[in-house]
Symmetry: C2
Subunit: 324 residues, 2 copies
DNA sequence: TTGTAAGCGTTATCAA
DNA sequence: TTGATAACGCTTACAA
């Protein structure tokens, strides 16, 4: 039951048990080759019988040594967009035999700062983070003094580098497709979010003169999105750009309520987007690519390589809903 | 650029800078109260100007000290079911100011063992893990000698305790609802998976005499699931129990292909299950509860409290698809 | 090839 | 209340 309460055997215990010096055990454990075979045997036996496991935390406190752990701060692990980022980052870490500590900021600057500080204190080797809107800068700056910090999804001026999607370009491309059906409406969330501002910027650039009645920035919740979509449709929109997946779902719900469907392109892919009828087209930042590139940049920075900002081109997945 | 290359200031540096003893800084950093205010001031100043961050990894190597990190091994972070487990566990950890290292086993016993070993080596305080089908026992047993190990989703005989859902009961309840419409078909994955075997067991118990033609255990991929569902329907099923969400999606696709819909209850909730028409009913192990209870059990074990196996009752979410 | 001794950054002991 | 001094489990000179 309380088996684990017993003091864990140390490298010293192994050395004593095997009747060799401490350093020889260290060599063995670290896979160094120059060890007499019979000693190696004895050490292996001692490790086995004692149930010895090396203490990586202890090994890593020496300067120049790394912990083999990467930190990741995303918005919310429960959101498919973010969990996809995390999964991709985890995969890159696993290939390099690193662990990943994942934390959710809930887009709260204070929580973000606390998590970033904690991760630095825990001595993760590098930090991949989605800076929340607002005053994240000091937290990033602080972390940056100790470890490489890669900002993803949104840029951060203090990060080692930033990897973001071309949200603006994605919106422009979507509008270019929708425009032929008539006035394009826009349903999105607050412009305080960098991604939203970028997407709206792309929309505005593509439509030329923005008709404010065709635009909604208050799709904060699903209900808000439903209302916003209804408003935009009633104002005369003949096609809709929904600037995130909540807005897209709300718009779909509004279509159902009104018994009328308009050409629609959403933003951010969502599960089952391909299952509803017609399948929903989306301009989608490939979240997996974000996570993967972020982790890769972290490893590059750790290896001392130069890392540069990246802007990943958004794919436009046309599945059918962009047509009348 | 390479700001972080500089050697990080240590507690000793702070002590020297503030002109106080090492232990006094330690006291200050650990929030102990018996410190002369003026010394506290000097220390705070030194910490600020030096940009000192304490090294939690170094602090935790002392026996009896904990790392403040919990390990979690799930099937795949990219799967909403598992990411929901992770998110719930993370939330419980965050409340207790702990970090969570999440790793995906991909249901591979070897990968699982490697991850469990690594997490123990990294000295996480406790391990919450989903044991993959097959020979996980030795890995759990090994980890168990060092730290509490909580098995979730599936039982493990070597774990400190196991927290699972009543899959059998959920399947029985679902069949009880579907039965009135005629022969109930079953679409699921291999019985080598503990959860599948339990669900199928519940199905078999509820239908009494199983008609093998109405049963498919080969829904490994979405395509397989589509084929399996078609077979079961053609064999005369008048209602379907889909034993995981892939099976449910495949069955929905088959309905669409055939232009015919049967009463359906799925297993494991999925995003947008409530959005498709009609909304899909599911017998759902509340994955969030699994993660939360798992983490809570880990903390209980760490606190020296007795922990016991738990079987969480599955909820049956009837949304409409269970009717003709 | 092997082992001793000196750290690494922190916490704990204990005498001042 | 304070601060030498000794751990903690490991790695790394440096000898042997």
């Amino acid at each position: 039951m309380t088996e684990h309460a017993r003091r864990a055997p140390t490298m010293n215990d192994v050395a004593a048990h095997a009747g060799v010096g401490l350093k020889t055990v260290s060599r063995y454990v670290n896979g160094e080759t120059n060890i007499r075979p019979d000693l190696a045997q004895r050490i292996a036996g001692a490790i086995e019988t004692l149930g010895y496991r090396r203490n990586l935390a202890a090994a890593s406190i020496r300067p120049g040594q790394r912990s083999g752990v990467i930190g990741l701060i995303i918005g919310d692990l429960g959101n498919p967009y973010w969990s996809s980022v995390a999964r991709a980052a985890e995969r890159v870490c696993a290939e390099r035999r690193h662990l990943l500590v994942t934390a959710s900021s809930e887009e709260d600057p204070e929580r973000f700062a606390a998590l970033a500080d904690r991760l630095v204190d825990q001595r993760v080797d590098a930090l991949v983070a989605v800076p929340p809107p607002g005053a994240e800068s000091s937290a990033v700056e602080r972390a940056r003094r100790h470890i490489p910090v890669i900002a993803i999804d949104r840029p951060s001026p203090h990060a080692t580098c930033s990897i973001v999607y071309d949200n603006r370009g994605g919106a422009e491309a979507a509008v270019a497709v929708l425009r032929e059906h008539g006035p394009v409406g826009y349903v999105g969330d607050t412009l305080a979010m960098w991604t939203m501002a970028e997407r709206y910027g792309g929309y505005a650039a593509a439509v030329g003169a923005v008709d404010e009645r065709l635009v909604a920035h208050d799709a904060h919740t699903m209900d808000d999105a439903i209302g916003a979509a209804a408003r935009v449709i009633e104002a005369g929109a003949r096609a809709i750009l929904a600037a995130n997946n909540r807005a897209a779902l709300g718009t779909l719900r509004t279509f159902a309520d009104r018994g009328e469907r308009l050409p629609l392109i959403g933003f951010d892919d969502f599960e089952l987007a391909s299952v509803v009828n017609p399948p929903v087209s989306v301009a989608t930042p490939d979240s997996a690519a974000l996570g993967a590139r972020g982790a890769l940049a972290a490893f590059a920075a750790l290896a001392g390589e130069a890392v540069a900002d990246e802007v990943l081109a958004p794919g436009l997945l046309l599945r059918g809903s962009e047509r009348p």
